[in-house]
Assembly symmetry: C2
Homo-oligomer: 137 residues x 2
């Protein structure tokens, strides 16, 4: 359902969120803790920074922090930098959109299901993922 890369990103942002207030998170530290290849995670962090999810600072004592509160970062904000979670309804059979006159009940059901997936990523936030925090669920 999610690419490796997107899963890395989710776990990494969660890790950063859990270290808010404890200083910046360094790539090496997070890579060790999460068992993700360092150089690869470095690129994931960079991409998340470019996407406005994280903020980076360079130099000694540099690292990453959340760019905004965990409750304001949806899982879609994270995942969409790497995977496409199609918000736009997409036909099960690969066409961009079903022409309405051939649409059958299956297409409707598929639309329902895939919209639920999209909604999950859109409304769930990093804060929701954190242990003990079970708001807005």
């Amino acid at each position: 359902m999610l690419s490796n890369t997107a899963e890395y990103a989710l776990r990494a942002v969660l890790y950063v969120a859990q270290h808010e207030g404890l200083g910046l998170v360094r790539v090496n530290e997070a890579a060790d803790a999460l068992d993700i290849p360092k150089n690869y995670l470095s690129k994931v962090f960079h991409e998340l920074a470019r996407g406005g999810v994280l903020e980076s600072s360079r130099g000694q004592h540099g690292g990453f922090r959340l760019a905004r509160p965990a409750g304001k970062i949806s899982l879609l904000n994270i995942v969409s930098r790497f995977d496409q979670i199609s918000e736009r309804r997409r036909c099960l059979l690969g066409k961009d959109r079903c022409s309405d006159h051939t649409a059958c009940l299956v297409h409707e059901r598929w639309k329902d299901v895939s919209e639920q997936v999209a909604t999950f990523f859109r409304v769930t936030t990093v804060a929701d993922l954190m242990d003990g925090v079970s708001s807005a669920a």
Copy 2:
């Protein structure tokens, strides 16, 4: 959500289903109609035959037909030869299972959503996909 290959397989089986009773479907014919590379589709068909979804016969006038009625072929039967639609609940963050004591409400919601996806593929049949046929939806 689905790989290219699995999407090809769905479209191809639907095509074969729509030609039931009209003689065997040849790979070249289906590839042209569906705009899928011939040799690639050839392997997809072959794999579906090995998986008991299609039956093949070789030689002149050979081709493919459904191995059983369209209503007895679930989309999961088709797709699972190529993609893994995880029936087993899988943690959003990549672990095989969430340990229960760290499971939060988000995990529950994700389980709900992903089980709906799995159920869709399991209960929807090729017959449901065919135009005009709108049973069991």
